[in-house]
């Protein structure tokens, strides 16, 4: 059953990823990317990593996608005719780098022995990984957690100070 899910959502993720590259209109690429990220979130869920799945949706499909839209809005790709000339060379480079990545991944998969323990930290534990993460966040990492609220506050001030309309 898990295998079926893996192939179903893995397939959707792959198709969506190809659509990201293949689409002529950049907004369609962005929409395809959301589908791709969503399917990957399901894969994380199947791996019993619910927090990563949630973060995948909240941070990637939410925040990071908005930032992509930012770039699209800023760079105005509709009038960028000059960029098209560079495309051929970039395609070649992308294919070459993709092949290199594939080779590396393949070698790593061949070399991987399922019995080896993870490189760092404790293995993801028990029946309640999110709860464990939460307890860590509120004990050992309490100070960084509270400091993060200040970071978010500064970001809010930045938005208002730099982008507010005339006062």
């Amino acid at each position: 059953m898990e295998t079926l899910f893996f192939y179903l959502f893995g397939g959707i993720a792959l198709l969506a990823a190809m659509s990201v590259v293949a689409q002529k209109k950049i907004f369609y690429s962005a929409l395809s990317l959301i589908i791709c990220l969503g399917s990957i979130a399901v894969l994380f869920l199947a791996l019993e990593a619910p927090f990563i799945a949630a973060v995948q949706v909240i941070v990637y499909a939410g925040a990071v996608m908005v930032l992509f839209l930012f770039v699209i809005m800023l760079l105005d790709p509709f009038s960028a005719a000059a960029a098209r000339d560079k495309r051929k060379r970039l395609t070649f480079l992308a294919v070459a780098l993709g092949l290199v990545a594939l080779a590396v991944l393949f070698t790593l998969m061949r070399a991987h022995d399922p019995a080896t323990p993870p490189l760092a930290g404790e293995p993801p534990g028990g029946t309640d990984p999110v709860g464990r993460l939460g307890r860590l966040l509120f004990t050992r990492y309490l100070i960084p957690f509270e400091a993060t609220s200040i970071l978010i506050l500064v970001a809010i001030m930045g938005v208002v100070v730099l982008a507010r309309k005339r006062s």
Partner: protein, 117 residues
């Protein structure tokens, strides 16, 4: 029985019904083309202007504020999962976090960052 089987059955049903409806409208509909029908549907309002060019600054403010509060959400999830074991201490810790961001929210609201010009 594997608990995932009902889920898979539902997923197949959903996909099947959606496919059925789309195919039915493709084959059964008259399919006449008309310039008005070919324009993008914008909630019934005639679409206007060009999608490119400079965007209004309001979009950026809204989007940035969304990102900021969205990131905050990622912290609420593990807190909710661990709250039972953390008790009052966890409540106070999260209250401080939310209070600081709430102050930022009040500030942004009062400064008019949430209004559209």
């Amino acid at each position: 029985m594997n608990p995932l089987i009902p889920l898979a059955v539902m997923a197949l049903l959903v996909a099947g019904i959606v496919a059925l409806f789309i195919l039915a409208s493709v084959f059964l509909g008259p399919g006449k083309r008309h310039p008005v029908k070919d324009t993008p549907f914008e909630c019934g309002i005639p679409s206007e202007g060009f999608a490119g060019g400079r965007m209004h600054i309001g979009y950026y403010i809204m989007a940035m504020l969304f990102v900021v509060f969205d990131v905050e959400l990622a912290f609420l999830f593990p807190w909710a999962a661990a709250l039972r074991g953390l008790g009052w201490f966890g409540f106070v810790a999260m209250f401080l976090f939310i209070a600081v961001i709430g102050a930022g929210f009040a500030y942004a609201w009062k400064m008019g960052a949430l209004e559209w010009e």
